[in-house]
């Protein structure tokens, strides 16, 4: 079964696989900033070279009681429970956009605390349940 040719092919394959995994790892590591779909408020607070004139994405939770909807503007606070960022936006929002739910905002930073979005995406979490159960959970929480 294990002739010389078989052994040769097996070692060739192992070598190729190890090299590929290593190469992919290096590529992903060097691209890691671009692979992140959005930055968290903490990332923005701690980063040294902030980009103000280019579009970026910021994501996190919509802070409780921070959502204010006027006739021409929606204001809310994105939080990752450590740091916060004020966001202003005018336009339509997806159905799932509410307080205490995940959100990704696309737009430009004005300064470290203020972000003007021109697109809002809602982020869904991994929980799925029927509506009756949600009521029960809320009552338990109270």
């Amino acid at each position: 079964m294990l002739t010389f040719k078989v052994k040769k092919r097996a070692s060739f394959l192992t070598l190729i696989l190890i090299l590929t995994v290593f190469a992919v790892f290096l590529i992903l590591k060097s691209l890691s900033d671009n692979i992140l779909y959005f930055k968290s408020p903490t990332d923005i607070k701690t980063s040294e070279d902030l980009i103000f004139n280019k579009k970026i994405r910021v994501g996190g939770m919509v802070k409780k009681n921070s959502l204010k909807i006027n006739s021409d503007e929606i204001k809310f606070v994105i939080t990752d429970f450590k740091n916060e960022l004020n966001v202003s936006y005018s336009g339509t929002v997806p159905n799932l956009f509410t307080e205490e739910k995940g959100v990704v905002a696309e737009g430009k930073l004005q300064d470290k605390k203020f972000f003007v979005a021109d697109r809002i995406l809602a982020k869904h979490d991994e929980n799925y349940m029927p509506p009756e159960l949600k009521g029960i959970k809320k009552k338990d929480a109270k």
Binding site: M1, V6, R9, A10, L13, I16, L17, T20, V21, V24, L28, S32, I35, L36, Y37, F38, K39, S40, G59, V93, P94, N95, L96, F97, K101, V104, R119, I120, L121, A122, K123, H124, D125, E126, N127, Y128, M129, P130, P131, E132, L133, K134
Partner: protein
Amino acid sequence: MIKFFNNSNIFFWIEKFTNFINSIFFVLLIVAISFALIFSPPDYLQGDSVRIMYVHVPAAWIGLASFTLIAFLSILNFIFKIKNLFLISKSIAPIGLMFTCLAIVTGALWGQPTWGTFWAWDARITSMLILGIFYLLFIFVNKYVLDQHRANKISSLIAILGAVNIPIIKYSVEWWNTLHQPASIKIAGASTIHSSMIVPLLLMFFVLILYCALIFLMKYKTEIIRIKKKNLKRL
């Protein structure tokens, strides 16, 4: 072993399996679809668009699983040169491609009402697209490289290299910030899908697996007929 892989013997078993699956497939399909579309509750947040999940998640699982299987068979095939394994992986590839595309399309249809966009270049979705490209490469090499031995060798290598992408897809939602939500059903630990939604999900998964088996048997049969036409007694 050699006797089992005799052509007429394989034919006999393929016929038997196909008939068996055909006899239960449509009943199970109707049961699973009625569970997914009628009897399962809507989601507390998404409402009825949660029902897309019952196709999306099994399709993605099957897309990943068949590529893993192809890669595994390709490793054995590359080292031991067993022709039968090559025929099997060749028959699985179109099924995997179809379900990967299905996962991407249903994901887009779900993303529009919930996220607010059809497409996002986040890690999960992009790596899934790359999986689809690897499937395409695998199929095209088998179709357009005329020399059988070369096609076998090149496509095996493509499958083995593409296998590096599989763990990236699986863990993309944990390693990086993505728009796509993390896995709800974990290998270890409690799942975050309510049990009234897990039952239709697993039913749909089972039915789609049966469908895959059906298509696979048909494809495999054609491949064997092709071999038979060349007047080879066994594989």
